[in-house]
Amino acid sequence: MKLTQRNKKLIVSSYIVANELIKYGYQMKIKKYPANRRRYIYVFKVENLQKMMDDVDSIYTRLYS
């Protein structure tokens, strides 16, 4: 999971996590297939970074704990 320049975008590489973020009401900007990777990445717009990170934390806890 990667936060880009000035924390404007969050890049997610897992379909399941991306799907959960959409359920939480986050808007997916792009779904793209970069040339150097073998699968899609999902780019989300960051508005409230702290809240988004808290949500990511609860998604991780539910999926992977």
């Binding site: 000035r6 897992s14 379909y15 992977y64 704990s65």
Partner: protein
Amino acid sequence: MNEEYFEIFPAWVSCREKNYKLILSNDIDSLAACTLLEQQTNWRTEAVMLHKYNRYAVEHYDQQPLDFFGTLNPDFKLNQCVGVDLALMNGKCFDNHVQLPDKYSLANPRSANLNTLHRINCEEYHKKYAGSTFLLVWALYGYPDDNLSDDMNMFRACVDSAYLGYFSQDFKKYMKEYLVDILEMPCLYDFLGNHSKKEFENFQKRYGLKRCIFRREDTGYLNTYINLDEINRIFRGSKINLNLKLPDGQFEKRFLCRNMKSSSMPVEKNIFTMSITKKNEFKYSIPFGEGKEFYETNAA
């Protein structure tokens, strides 16, 4: 190591009699440094931190990369441990990463790290110590620099690709300062000058030095494809007698961490490890779920 420099290192570095527990990371740099520390002190490897442990597992194909923290004993306390090649935000550690985002930031005072002690930050990233943790521990605990065979020197240069600093225009002049003046390894510096980059790369391939250490999900034991037997053969019979072997025993999961990357200083709390790997790239891991509580109550 230069005695003046030894004095600026944290005092815990010389507490050889205490029963600190070492945290192994997932590469040869950490394993070799742990072996040297076990030879010199009473400290034992009892925990492991594996970055992106699920990256090759088929059943985890669609998971985000996660970091695994496991221990041999269930009653493990984070305040008794020493991270080896791990840039801990809080607690004792040996490492070689840059940790400061700017010159006004506060560093981890218990980190035995040349970059932190020199207050190297993002703005002067090219001045960083581009060697390995293994070389740092080698120098700190007074292992010799001269009268070593070519293969031993080759191994020292290839761990964590420490030779790359010599072949990079940006790092080369600082490499001399760190290796010759601070770590007092003039023989290794000369050795780097007498060999080509290709020779180091071939050595790394021959011994699998870029391969990582992983945990078998079914048994909980550590495993690796690094050619440890061949490496031990290099040192056999010499006065150093480096005997690399993985810690024996089952590592039980204590917590998992989110593996995160960012181009600016992270805003989150409870960061377990953080390092700046390029001029503007922060890599950090944050415990989640049960790990969050464990970290909050146990943090050093």
